[in-house]
Symmetry: C2
DNA sequence: AATATCACAAGACTGAGTCTCATTCTTGGT
DNA sequence: ACCAAGAATGAGACTCAGTCTTGTGATATT
């Protein structure tokens, strides 16, 4: 009944990485992790706080930010800078989940997209540049279908 | 002695665009424009406010933000989201000045770079995507040469 | 010069994000 | 099962980049 990791979920990987990093368990972190796992794209810290307060397990603001920082440091979640007021966070999936974002500057809509040529360009570029590139997150701005006309 | 625009500086273009958009002149806007023109890469609003206060012409905080918003709306300046606390702004040059940014997450260093393959990938991509793409600004994160080792 | 309108300064205000510290929970050892 | 060390958490004060308001000064047009 055991596996060798190929079917490991993000939650399982997160728990394992946290444990290996010396963290104990806790209800607040668990609640944040479960919420992030249920989302396919990015949430703001305030959205997370509100969703959790409304839901089963409320989590204080300090804990939301602390947990997000811990998860980011362990590369389990990634910041998404949409240029809107608040930073967004989403889980980092190893198999296939990698994507970037389109942001409508009129209505604030955030959409994921992925592009193989773009990934190749970034990979090549990363080798020639005076920086050891860790993560990359591309955000393209424009007007969505509903907001055409300025 | 007159030209047909090929040697138009960014300041000249900014004044022309502002005038065409119905703006009157003013000392605060002029001071912000001159400071931005003297920089080749991005500044934060607070850096702009401080530089102007120290320099010849102080400009109030409200004016700095208002002018930056006006210039951004007219595509004369561009936001740069470095993922640091503050948003940065830089002038948009038409001939050759186009570049993106590398950010060292350890020390905060911001470096410009440009890459032709990346530009091509983004141009192609922009056609297939459910968004009319206006501007693009890529930020790659990592560790700079002085900060290698985590 | 008078008028209308925009540009500006000063500062109060907002709210996302940070920090502190007392309390509660985990966990490994007894 | 019990205990102690140390991690996790909650509550709220605090910071400060960015916004908003309002009264004053500059500009262009007639
Ligand atoms: Zn996403
Ligand atoms: Zn839209
Ligand atoms: Zn730049
Ligand atoms: Zn560095």
């Amino acid at each position: 009944m055991s596996t060798h990791g190929h079917t490991e979920t993000w939650i399982e990987r997160a728990e394992a990485v946290l444990s290996a990093a010396g963290h104990k368990r806790g209800g607040a972190r668990r609640a944040v992790i479960e919420l992030l796992d249920s989302q396919s794209c990015a949430l703001t810290a305030v959205e997370i706080e509100d969703a959790l307060r409304t839901g089963e397990r409320g989590v204080s603001r300090a804990s939301v930010y602390r947990v997000l920082d811990e998860l980011e440091a362990l590369r389990l979640v990634q910041r998404v800078e949409t240029g809107q007021a608040m930073v967004r966070y989403e889980r980092v999936c190893e198999q296939g989940g990698h994507h970037h974002h389109l942001v409508c500057d009129s209505c604030g809509l955030v959409m994921p997209f992925s592009d193989e040529a773009l990934e190749r360009a970034i990979d090549k570029l990363s080798e020639r540049v005076p920086l050891r590139v860790s993560e990359h997150e591309i955000v393209l701005h424009g007007s969505c279908h509903d907001c055409r006309d300025d």
